[in-house]
Symmetry: C2
Subunit: 300 residues, 2 copies
């Protein structure tokens, strides 16, 4: 399969669905509507929604059943970026090459736009599941998984640990603690949600979840590597930003060589988890390779 | 019935349930756990959860079925206060007579504690509904209603309008726009959620919803009146704070006399909506009277 083509098509599908679930609304204060849409439609890679869709695809589910959850995952990801960039947090003025939300709309509006995106993500899940009327219990389980992945035990907890870790000695234990929560938890929840709504058997769910855990962590390890070695033009953020903020990263904790080995090991784990799956899981396989190999090319 | 006793008992029940759904967790960064619990257990009146429970009670539902949603409503209310108090927003240092969250834990932690409370509210709903295993579709509808009431079309939108309105001329239209969103929407969603999960018929739901709309707005009108006439010791916030922040309030828009008349009119509407309900709706009736009469005593 041609992964780039697949990602492009899927990301277009997700964008169209996002436009449907979060249209321009005159019933909202204009500035709030603008601020929410500014960050949501700012050219993200839509990796979380695509993972959820691909996970459902692996167990034979139609895209339409997973889509509300896919949209919600992107809305949650988008809110987290808006809040992470705030002056009280990472104080970033550039995101994907564009001024961050609070630079354009002010701090109060950025906080509220984030709150709005997070809250409406749950509206979108509930609404979508009710409209389809398929398996409301599975939908509730997906809501639960996404809330856990995004909440205090997941992404929010990871962001707290990340902020607290600045200027701490970067150890392997600390970086694992942060990465599994801050980034991996929501990626893993994306895979879980797709599997649950897609009707995975308990056995299929367990294997897909292994895949999600591995790819979730691999994603952040690769990101750490790219922050050191990548180019601003390619990554959309200034190279060396992590070091500047004294962030705890994999290369800082274990060295670049071991970080790259870990990324490849995680890729291996992710692929092994999918061994019993048919070609329907090929997108998941190709995504895993892509995530790791954009930072650690096969030749390395 | 003795309303004070009822409110006390219900608020104790809610507190116990909140302790169960949000226990002290060593799996979280300690400071995040502390910050979330600091604001959640700071002596709120638990009016939203109590409304949800009373709405369920009015249609004969057991408290246990509504409780996860009741807890979630209080968590959402609590997050909204934490974010509203932030320096970028209302910049308040006192809430219910205690230092606000960001004063105690810092701005970054207050933002994240709010995000955590909001996200976990949805976990609590999904988890509770799955544990009870009753009617997952009704649970999804309640999730949807609560997300709408709390989101950009409801509370978040109202907060934006409220911030934008500072220093604007307070008109009746503007104050209605703000109040129906900022405060009434989540109160109304509380009543709706209780009715849905409680198994209300469409006819019962429509009447309870009328009640919720009236009482939701009455609550904020009463609050506006108390901000002018109340004492700090009784209301837990400094009297005259709204005027200081140049907030758009009912008394400012239409004058104190008309504001009081409007509050009594809304009480009348709320009670009329419940006319066909049996004594099981007495708590809803008494709550409505209490909400209005603490600001506008019957003699007025």
């Amino acid at each position: 399969m041609n992964l780039q083509r697949y990602l492009e098509k899927r990301s277009q599908l997700v964008d169209r669905a996002l436009t449907r679930v979060l249209p321009k609304r005159t019933s909202l204060p204009t500035k709030l509507d603008d601020a929410m849409r500014y960050s949501l439609f700012s050219g993200g890679k839509r990796i979380r929604p695509i993972l959820a869709l691909a996970s459902g695809e692996a167990v034979g589910a139609p895209v339409a059943h997973i889509m509300p959850f896919a949209c919600a995952l992107e809305m949650i990801h988008s809110y987290s970026l808006v809040h992470d960039d705030l002056p009280a947090m990472d104080d970033d003025d550039l995101r994907r090459g564009q001024p961050t939300n609070h630079i354009v709309f002010g701090e109060a509006m950025a906080i509220l736009a984030g709150d709005g995106l997070l809250t409406e993500a749950f509206r979108v899940m509930a609404e979508g599941a009710l409209r389809l009327g398929k398996n409301p219990a599975a939908a509730l389980r997906a809501v639960q998984e996404i809330a856990i992945g995004a909440g205090a035990m997941g992404m929010v907890g990871g962001q707290v640990a990340d902020l607290e870790a600045e200027q701490k000695k970067p150890t392997r234990t600390l970086v694992d603690y942060i990465h599994t929560r801050k980034t991996a938890a929501l990626l893993r929840a994306s895979v879980r949600a797709g599997a649950l709504v897609g009707g995975a058997s308990p056995r299929q769910f367990a294997r897909l979840d292994e895949y999600g855990a591995a790819i979730g962590l691999a994603f952040q390890v690769a990101d750490d590597i790219l922050d050191v070695e990548g180019e601003t033009a390619k990554t959309g953020k200034r190279a060396g930003r992590d070091a500047e903020l004294q962030k705890v990263t994999y290369p800082a904790a274990v060295g670049m060589k071991k970080a790259k080995a870990r990324a490849r090991e995680l890729l291996h784990e992710a692929l092994a988890a999918l061994q019993s799956f048919p070609v329907a899981a090929d997108p998941l396989r190709e995504i895993a390779k892509f995530v790791v190999e954009r930072a650690v090319p096969r030749a390395t």
